[in-house]
Subunit: 215 residues, 2 copies
DNA sequence: CTGACATTTGACCAATCAGTCAAGTTTCTG
DNA sequence: CAGAAACTTGACTGATTGGTCAAATGTCAG
C-alpha cells in the first residue's frame, strides 16, 4: 500500500536507498539527455548507464518526462546562479570578468548541464519555455538594467546590455556545447594544462576590451 | 530492373520528378532534423512534412541515415563559405566585420542549418566528425595563420586566433541556435525591423573593439 | 496510343519504445 | 527475528520505429 506520504519516491522525504538511487538515475539521465535530447534518449539507455532495470527506473520516476524535468530543474538554478551574482555596486569590468570566469568554469566542470539546455532550447524549449519567459526574462531584464546604468555613467562603452549578455552566454557555453568541434580542431591540446586559462584569456580579452569605455 | 545508372534516384542524373521530390524531402528533413536531431526525428515526421508517404521517402533515400547525411552535406559547404572568404591581403578589421556580418545574416536566413549542426555536434558529431578533423581543421588553421599574421604586424590586438574564430562562431550562431530563448526574453521585439541591425551592431561593437589594436 | 520505366502506396515485419504488473527479494522497525 | 514496507525484476503490452515488398498507378518517348 501507500507508504507514508513523506516517503513516497517522488515526495520530499526519502529513504536512504531512494536518495542514493534517485541521484544515480539523475546523473545517468543527464549523461544521456545531454547528448541526444529528450526525444532521442531512451529509458533503456538511462537504465543501462544507471545500472538499474527499466522497471526500477520507473519505480522512482513514473514517466520518462518526469526524469527529464527533474534533471532540468536540478540544473536550472545552478545555471542562473552566476548571472544573479552580478552586483550593481561593483566595478563594471570586474563584475563582468567575474561573471565570464564563472561561466567558463561551469562550461568546463558541468559541460553536460550546458548541453542539456542547448538540446532543450534547440527542441523549442517545450519543458522550460514558461520558465524562460518568466524567471529568466525577469533576471535578464534586471541585470540589463544594471549594465545599462553602467553605460549611462560612462563606465562601459555604449552597448546594448541584453546583447552583451547573449554574447557572454554564447562565447562561454560554446566551450561546452561545441566541445567535440573544438576537440576536432585543436586535438589533445584541449586536455592540456594551459587550455582553460588560454580560453579564458581570449574570451576575457575580446569581451572586456570590447566593452571597456573608450576615451 | 535497374534504371540507367545515371538516372538512379541516388545518382547524379535525375528525372524531373526526382529533382523536385528530393528537394522537397531535404527541405522537410532539414526542418525536422534541425529541431530534434537525428535520433529524435522520425521518418513519419519527415514524410508528413514533405507531403509524401514513408515508402515514397525510402524510394528516394534508402535509409534515414542517407537523408540525414544528404541534408548535412548540402549545408556544410554553405556553412564554411564565409570563413573561406577571409582574405589575408584585406584590412583586418574590415575582413572580420565582413565575416561577422555574413555569419549573422546566415543565422537569420538559415537558422535551421545552424541548428542542424548544433544538434549534430551536441550528439558527438557522429556523421561529420571526420570532416571536422580534416577539412574544417585545415581551414581554421589556415585562417588562424592569417589572423596571427595580422596580430604579429600589430594590426590586431594580441589574441589567440583560434579562440577568436570560436568567439565569432559562438556569438553569431547563438542567434539561430538559441532563438527560442532570445524570443522568450525579448518577445516580439525579435520580429521588429531594427532587430537584425541591433544585434549586428552589438556583436560587431564587442568583438571588433575587442580585437582592435590598442595604442 | 502503347509499352517500358518511373513513381507511389497499402500492407506488412521485426525491432524498439514507454510503461504495467504481479511476484519476488531486501531492508528496516519494533 | 518476525512482519511490514520498501525495493527489484522478468515477463508482458500496445504503440511507434525504420524498413520491405508486391502490386498499382503515373509518365513519357517513340
Amino acid at each position: 500500500m501507500d507508504a507514508r506520504v513523506d516517503e513516497e519516491p517522488g515526495g520530499g522525504g526519502q529513504t536512504r536507498i531512494q536518495a542514493i538511487n534517485r541521484e544515480i538515475i539523475l546523473q545517468a539521465a543527464l549523461e544521456v539527455f545531454s547528448v541526444h535530447g529528450f526525444r532521442g534518449s531512451t529509458l533503456d539507455q538511462i537504465a543501462a548507464k544507471a545500472g538499474l532495470s527499466k522497471p526500477n527506473l520507473l519505480y522512482y520516476f513514473r514517466r520518462k518526462q518526469d526524469i527529464y524535468e527533474a534533471v532540468l530543474r536540478d540544473t536550472l538554478a545552478l545555471w542562473l546562479e552566476p548571472l544573479a551574482a552580478i552586483r550593481a555596486d561593483g566595478e563594471p569590468i570586474e563584475e563582468l570578468r567575474r561573471y565570464i570566469t564563472f561561466k567558463l568554469r561551469m562550461s568546463r566542470e558541468q559541460p553536460q548541464a550546458s548541453r542539456l539546455f542547448a538540446n532543450e532550447i534547440l527542441a523549442g524549449a517545450p519543458a522550460i519555455g514558461g520558465f524562460l519567459a518568466s524567471d529568466l526574462k525577469a533576471l535578464v531584464e534586471e541585470k540589463a538594467g544594471v549594465i545599462r546604468g553602467w553605460v549611462t555613467q560612462g563606465r562601459l562603452a555604449p552597448i546594448d546590455p541584453v546583447h552583451l549578455i547573449f554574447a557572454i552566454w554564447a562565447t562561454t557555453q560554446h566551450y561546452a556545447d561545441f566541445e567535440v568541434q573544438i576537440r576536432a580542431i585543436l586535438g589533445d591540446q584541449v586536455d592540456g594544462r594551459g587550455f582553460p586559462e588560454q580560453a579564458a584569456q581570449a574570451v576575457l580579452s575580446i569581451i572586456l576590451n570590447g566593452v571597456r569605455p573608450r576615451a
